[in-house]
Amino acid sequence: MSKDLSVTVAGVRFPNPVIAASGTYGFGQDYTDLYPLNKLGGISCKGTTLEPRNGNPAPRIAETPAGMLNSVGLQNPGIDMFITGYLPQLKKDGNVIIANIAGATLDDYKQAVERLDGTNVDMIELNISCPNVKQGGASWGITCEGAASVTKTVRAVTKKPLMVKLTPNVTNIVDIAKAVEAEGADCLSLINTLLGMRIDIKTRRPILKNNVGGFSGPAVFPVALRMVWQVANAVDIDVVGMGGITTAADAIEVMMAGAKAIQMGTAIFTDPYSPLKVIDGLEKYMEDNNLDSLEEIVGTVQPW
């Protein structure tokens, strides 16, 4: 018996709730030797900026207990290359494609999103939370004003479903979520990476050339879950949860906390098949619990 695992987020139907997280799946071309992309619920493409970027110097990767750090710093070929070089192939194969857009200035965001507005991309995820790129010492996502202004600017130039990706590196993520919702975001995704650091004790140097980087993987899962729960309870728009999700049970926890869909990233590095295993696990969970839709479990946690 095969179940319908589809979920609808901000009006976009995903064939299943498991989305490859931005920055961990490139533009979808790199894992096709193992399985077709349309097995996934969707793909959030690598963070893309108006102009091409080279990112930060290497080393950009460090391991941690139950996780990793990265300081890639938004290396990408630019929005025009995304639109002409990658998007047509991605859409031809029938995948649900989310463009992830980052920028240094409001005008960067505006121009990049304007160019996307006429394409067949399914959703735009605004990256206001990359911890690896300096922008006046802070990223847009760490203040309500900054987050609201990016959302407002972009909302004015596109009718595409707009998802805003939140950073956990803030005092109160709920306030940021509400500020973004008030400016017209259609849904939220969280969490981006936590800011972390490792030092090589032999050389007394940070392992990352950028000194600090984004912390992800199973170690951050409880923090992510807590934030998804807090945010989902505070806003009316849909929430997509991510942060250390590795198993179907993790995905179910995040959905019970209030997420309609989930994203996976670091787990794919450990096991490229992990998204498919999560999808299989979700289907089995539906069968075992006689669910007709996974949306039946969204936000059903009963807090003490």
Partner: protein, 260 residues
């Protein structure tokens, strides 16, 4: 360049020097398209990131790969606990590999390896067995770290070993035997893998003698397949600078394009 991700059976295990392990793995699918200079990305149970290990030898008839790695930390220590009959979870083969050339039979190929950069040079030397003279120049810290010398002889390579402290072979850097071989005027290709100072010296030497050279780079890596863009390296082609991926665009690059 198809790759696979699966669990493959370990047929043979040997500690060939203190903390340096050799494994032979039965993996017919990856072997069918594997080339010397490519690598495998191995899952270490309990660790988030896989360990990239270069392919040492390829046996297409037996459907086996040989890998040789050094225990550098807890992850590689975990890998070294795998025994014959156990499964190794690998993504393989990955990366581009060395360019193997058709050379006239009077030409010599030089492979240069330093430390744990030596293993991929063995499979590369083997590609030229019975075709061209291969000179292997291998550098190690000291006698206790010397590996694979007999294997290079087995594949027909004329082998020179150097150690930093002179405790085995010639004392000094690989550049001396390299220059000695280049002076004979027969060399047509140089391949190298090893620590950055060694690679710089080999690249400079190749340029002086105007001999084509390919080097294999190393960088901290996450996905291994090109998706995460973690393992960046700087490459200069046609006067333009590029940031490329060691895992997918490399790990092998033309010496003249590498910016170290």
């Amino acid at each position: 360049m198809a790759f696979y991700c699966d669990s493959y059976t370990i047929l043979k295990k040997e500690e060939i020097a203190d903390g340096i392990f050799s494994y032979i793995i039965h993996c017919p699918e990856p072997v069918s398209s594997a080339k010397s200079g490519q690598f495998v990305h191995i899952k270490a149970e309990g660790y988030t990131l896989r360990r990239p290990i270069s392919i040492c030898e390829i046996d297409k008839k037996e459907g086996t790969l040989r890998i040789v790695f050094e225990v550098r930390g807890a992850g590689t220590d975990k890998l070294s606990q795998l025994e014959v009959g156990d499964k190794m979870d690998m993504i393989a083969p990955l990366g581009n590999g060395f360019t193997i050339k058709e050379l006239s039979s009077d030409k010599t190929v030089i492979v240069v390896g330093g430390g744990i950069g030596v293993p991929p040079m063995l499979g590369t030397a083997a590609e030229y067995k019975d075709k061209n003279k291969v000179k292997a120049v291998l550098g190690f810290r000291s006698k206790g770290r010397v590996i694979l010398e007999e294997d290079f002889k087995r594949v027909g390579a004329e082998t020179a070993v150097c150690t930093d402290d002179g405790s085995y072979g010639e004392k000094g850097l690989v550049t001396f035997p390299l220059i000695e071989e280049l002076e004979k005027g027969k060399a047509a290709m140089i391949y190298a893998c090893g620590p950055t100072p060694m690679l710089k010296a080999v690249i400079n030497t190749a340029r002086v003698y105007n001999i084509p050279c390919e080097v294999s780079l190393e960088q901290r890596m996450a996905c291994g397949v090109g998706a995460c863009v973690g393992c960046a390296c700087n490459i200069r082609k046609g006067g333009r600078d590029f940031v490329l991926r060691v895992c997918k665009d490399g790990p092998v690059f033309k010496a003249e394009e590498v910016v170290l």
